[in-house]
Amino acid sequence: MTAVRTLPAAVVRGAAFVVLLALWQALAAMVNDPLLPSPLAVLLSLQHHLMQGELLHHLAKTLMRVAAAFVIAMLIGVAVGVWMGRSKLVNNLLDSLLVLMLNLPALVAAILCFIWIGLNETAAVLAVALNKVPTVIINIREGARALDTQLLQVGEVYRVPRLTVLRRIVLPQLYPYIMASARSGLALIWKIVLVIELLGRSDGIGFQLGTFFQFFDLTSILAYTAAFAGVVFVIEAVLLRPLDRRLNGWRA
């Protein structure tokens, strides 16, 4: 056991992943049913969809929607969250609405958007963003409430301009909250985006999954899922984790 504990984290993570895949492969071989495709079959299907099919096109569509909804949700969420965290009045005004939005089912938001705005891109992106905004607000509001008054006083005493206070004193204190929101937000958004594509778009991964569902094509469904999971891992590895490291460089 001691030997395992001293292994590098990457090796342990990789080993766990391989074991999981092996178990899956063994189980699929035992059951031998098209409704439980083996990882190998999924991989081959993924290759097929990449080379022949339209996976990249649909993946790109979905990613665009994810990116748009993510940016909108983060911008609105951070702004309103800071506002609610710093002003009692604003907090009292918006709190009930926030609780309502937080508990609004994704399906209801999607249906309302599609009916009121139309079956178009704007409605789809807005419906996704609407689901994410309240959770960002909740996170950031907590961060804004916990802002260090002592450091804000430094800005006040030395007459630091408001924008500089925001950039240099306020935002760095909110980074952990923003990063947490970004992580959970990406996860939530991509889950919801697919539902909304299924409901009201004629492209994107969600739409494709709906089509495969009708044919009980589980292999393709898992291949598409794997493609998206891969993208999420890449985003985490090349974007979020380096960003996290950069923002936390000052910690002794």
């Binding site: 002592q150 005493v157 004193i169 910690r251």
Partner: protein, 252 residues
Amino acid sequence: MTALTVDIQRKRHPGAAGDTIGPLRFALRSGEFVAIVGPSGAGKTSLLKIIAGLDPDFVGTVGAKVDGLGSGKLGFVFQEPRLLPWLTVADNLRLVMPALDTGTLDAALARVGLAGTAQQFPLRLSGGMQRRVALLRAFLIRPALLLLDEPFISLDVPTAESLYALLADLRRDVMPTTVLVTHDLREALALADRVLFVSRSPARIILDHAVNLPKPRRRDDEAVDQMHRALMARHPELLGGLQSTRPEPESA
């Protein structure tokens, strides 16, 4: 020339049973160094906040605008260094002095014994070094008024002495009117031209004592020691905030 007039009739914290600061009035000449000495919890920090303009909620007036004491010319050194941990030493100083060029910055750091620390994060510096940065930050803006809120407490004596020397050195250039709040009478006698003793809250001035001793002084100088003993002999409960005066001894 009067540089600062403080006339506070009353300061009460919201929800507090009594006043924190009673009628309290004093005036400082331009460039004068006054120490305010009183027991813990006497409202000394509240007084500094009022003078700094951080707390508008009091009855009375503070006239700090006489003699060109305008906006942006206030230096404040807090009890803790209060550097922004996510900014390097250089960026912490640029926060209050955006136009600072590298040459000036390096020279200033070298002068306060911090050569080569410009790119370091504050948490990697010792407590004494962090306080040097905080002192430098206050002097960089060439303040007309300098407020010091027990900045040397919880330091060992040699570190405190070296900071006294640094403070004296920096003051020679800029000559800001200075208010030091402390509960350490030796520190006050080592640094100030005048010591105002305040009572327990509501804080009032119970003794206004001129320190006519040659500078520079150290806290264990014979003259400082003598004055300390003389004061304690005449007003044994002075540091507790009580002004019980014993009859003047013959030899004094």
